[in-house]
């Protein structure tokens, strides 16, 4: 049954687009995921009105979590104003009529692609990740039938061999994003393509949900779960980043985007988390090039 919600622009659709049966099915998968941290729960992913690979898994998880009282933030690459973040935020403004925000601290649900917000999250928040390939073993073994077996038997030797070979060949582990982790000492999990700089913040007071629409998988990291980035004793995990402060807000320990300024090799490094950077600037922090930053005038 569809419930009519006055004030929502498209009354032909249910609250947050999906029908209640579908949301119930997704919530069951989420609950199972929470019960088995890091385990990929198959779910009957629906065709959404945006393409597969563009966040359909995250959108379905968000739709199943949203209540009319929620305040939603959507980021892509850490930014609220990237086109796909704008598009997904608009989708929920239209189909759920929920309030939206760009401030991490004000949001109750944050959907993200490729970043964890710099501002520490709280127990009252849910972080929803868009996941392209949920299987951390996929590039070592293309068959789902095989990888499911490997997870079942906790057979992760192949992954360790891959990491070891990286060290033998390159002197370090040559994975810079989507760096594999082990959750609660059991399942090896793909944290989605976040830079490995973000990995330490996977241990969080917030509930973290991962949705892969095309691959029909949902998984979860419950609050305060132990999340360990895979490494070796003599080659410990290193969450590296560009060795610069942010040129706009002067932050020393944030993940930075490298922005090409001209065709002569000029570049600047700025926080990829736009809300974090803007908040710091509003608080009076200044970086080396913090001329007032405005987009091209209308």
């Amino acid at each position: 049954m569809t419930e009519e919600r006055p004030g929502v622009e498209t009354d032909a659709y249910n609250f947050a687009y999906l029908d209640e049966q579908t949301k119930r099915m997704i919530r069951r998968a989420i609950l199972k995921g929470v019960a088995i941290p890091g385990y990929q729960v198959p779910f009957a992913s629906r065709e959404m009105p945006m393409p597969y690979g563009w966040g359909t898994g995250g959108v379905q998880v968000t739709a199943a979590c949203l209540t009319p009282e929620d305040r939603l933030k959507v980021i892509d690459q850490g930014a609220d104003d990237t086109t796909n973040a704008v598009s997904i935020r608009k989708f929920f403004e239209r189909t759920a009529g929920v309030e939206t925000t760009e401030h991490t601290t004000e949001a109750t649900v944050i959907q993200t692609r490729h970043r964890i917000p710099e501002t520490p999250m709280t127990e009252d928040q849910i972080l929803v990740y868009q996941v392209p390939i949920p299987e951390p073993l996929r590039f070592l073994e293309p068959r789902e039938t095989e990888t499911r077996k490997m997870h079942g038997l906790e057979e992760y030797g192949l992954m360790h061999v891959k990491l070891y070979e990286d060290i033998a060949r390159h002197g370090e582990i040559a994975t810079a994003y989507a760096y594999p982790v082990k959750v609660e000492g059991r399942y090896v999990m793909d944290p989605s393509p976040i830079p490995k700089f973000d990995n330490p913040r996977l241990e969080s007071p917030a509930l973290q949900l991962f949705g892969a629409g095309r691959e029909q998988r949902i998984y979860a990291v419950p609050p305060y779960s132990k999340v360990v980035s895979l490494d070796f004793e003599d080659h410990p995990f290193d969450p590296s980043k560009a060795d610069h402060p942010c040129a706009l807000c002067g932050a020393e320990n944030t993940y930075l985007d490298e922005v090409i300024m001209d065709d002569a090799g000029g570049r600047m490094f700025v926080c990829s988390d736009t809300d974090y950077c803007a908040t710091r600037q509003a608080e009076g922090h200044r970086g080396a090039q913090s001329a007032p930053f405005t987009e091209a005038a209308e």
């Binding site: 999906l18 690979g53 563009w54 086109t83 789902e144 930053f293």
Partner: protein, 361 residues
């Protein structure tokens, strides 16, 4: 700043406006109506219904109009719309044996009860551009005869009578619904057929073609290809009996394949099966070939490692909506990931160059 990607809301709105203008094209040219597309682009409509898994010619025509003729985009629109529809039940199995055929051909017999009916096919047209079509206003009419309602029994049944073809045992088991449950491997045949009938025509065609060229060869003949209308019946719980709720056009293809026999089966012919919405015979024949190829295990054949024998490979890559979405998502910004790779490559290069230098000294 990165205006190209961080253009935000205004850029999206402007893009949509421009897209709408482009879709309409030159306003001096009369606008195409949805009914014109439905009637005159029927094979495109059929493909959109088949791969969109929704039988509704008007909606399919609308989707084609909206997508500017990009059929995969039109299929996508139909699929997304389908998501919002409640599933209230399922029909009785359709009886294609009782089909009122517009077209029915068999390659394995010269003639058969019910006859061969060529129907509206491109098959024997010469592919010469018809410049007369460029001049408008023509309303061709074909000759008509009164339909003679003849029984058209399935041709493979003649072979079955002598035990020459492998038997298909009917089952009352409720088939799984791939749109309501996540895909699981190994899939049963019902699930495979569902995936193939909504699979991308080009992909299924390519897979079928590969079996003909020797990658898992099993030489097929078209035992029968029939296209026509079948009634759809549904049992209404309140009534306690089935009523006809409409009729749909279908294309059904059964292939007859050579089979030398195996450890478990005597030499006999085997079958592949294709069933697709609308007149979509290229797709139905392709589907039958791929179905047959995927049955290697059940029929006791060897897996020679051909792509078309690999169920997980075929079914995970046959859906064009999944494929196109994932393929095109690489247009989305990835600069966070790229940045981390950039730093990694710079670091590794610096280390490598330092060690070359050390070696040279």
């Amino acid at each position: 700043m990165y205006v190209a990607v961080k253009g935000g809301e205004r850029a999206i709105d402007n893009a949509h406006e421009w897209l709408a203008e482009e879709r309409r094209g030159d306003p001096a040219v009369p606008e195409l109506s949805v009914t014109q597309i439905r009637e005159q682009m029927k094979l495109a409509v059929n493909r959109v219904m088949a791969e969109g898994s929704l039988y509704d010619p008007d909606l399919a025509a609308l989707a084609i109009k909206q997508s500017r003729g990009d059929l995969i985009e039109a299929i996508f629109l139909i699929r997304a719309y389908r998501t919002t529809l409640p599933r209230i039940g399922h029909s009785e199995p359709v009886d294609t044996g009782a089909m009122i055929c517009d077209r029915r051909v068999s390659a394995t017999f010269k003639d058969a009860p019910g006859g061969q009916v060529l129907g509206p096919t491109f098959d024997y047209t010469h592919r010469l551009l018809d410049f007369k079509l460029a001049a408008e206003g023509e309303t061709p009419r074909a000759q008509e005869v009164d339909a003679e309602r003849k029984e058209t029994p399935r041709i493979t049944e003649f072979l079955n009578r002598d035990g020459l073809i492998q038997e298909e045992t009917p089952s009352d088991e409720t088939p799984p619904d791939m749109t309501r449950a996540p895909m699981e491997y190994p899939a049963n045949r019902a699930l495979r057929l569902q995936a193939l009938t909504r699979g991308d025509e080009g992909f299924v065609l390519g897979m079928a073609y590969s079996t003909q060229r020797g990658y898992g060869r099993n030489h097929p003949f078209v035992g029968e290809l029939r296209i026509g209308k079948v009634p759809v019946e549904m049992e209404i719980a309140e009534l306690g009996f089935s009523v006809e709720i409409g009729e749909i056009d279908l294309t059904e293809c059964e292939t007859v394949n050579q089979f030398a026999g195996s450890k478990t089966e005597p030499p006999q012919f085997t079958r592949g099966y294709g069933l697709v919405f609308g007149q979509t015979e290229r797709k139905a024949i392709s589907m039958a070939l791929v179905d047959r190829s995927l049955r290697w295990e059940e029929l006791g054949e060897d897996n020679v490692g051909a792509p078309a024998q690999d169920e997980e490979f075929v079914l995970s890559h046959s859906d064009n909506i999944q494929a196109t979405g994932f393929l095109e998502h690489i247009k989305l910004p990835h600069y966070v990931d790229f940045q981390s790779e950039l730093e990694l490559v710079r670091r590794m290069r610096a280390e490598a160059q330092a060690s070359y230098k050390e070696a040279a000294e």
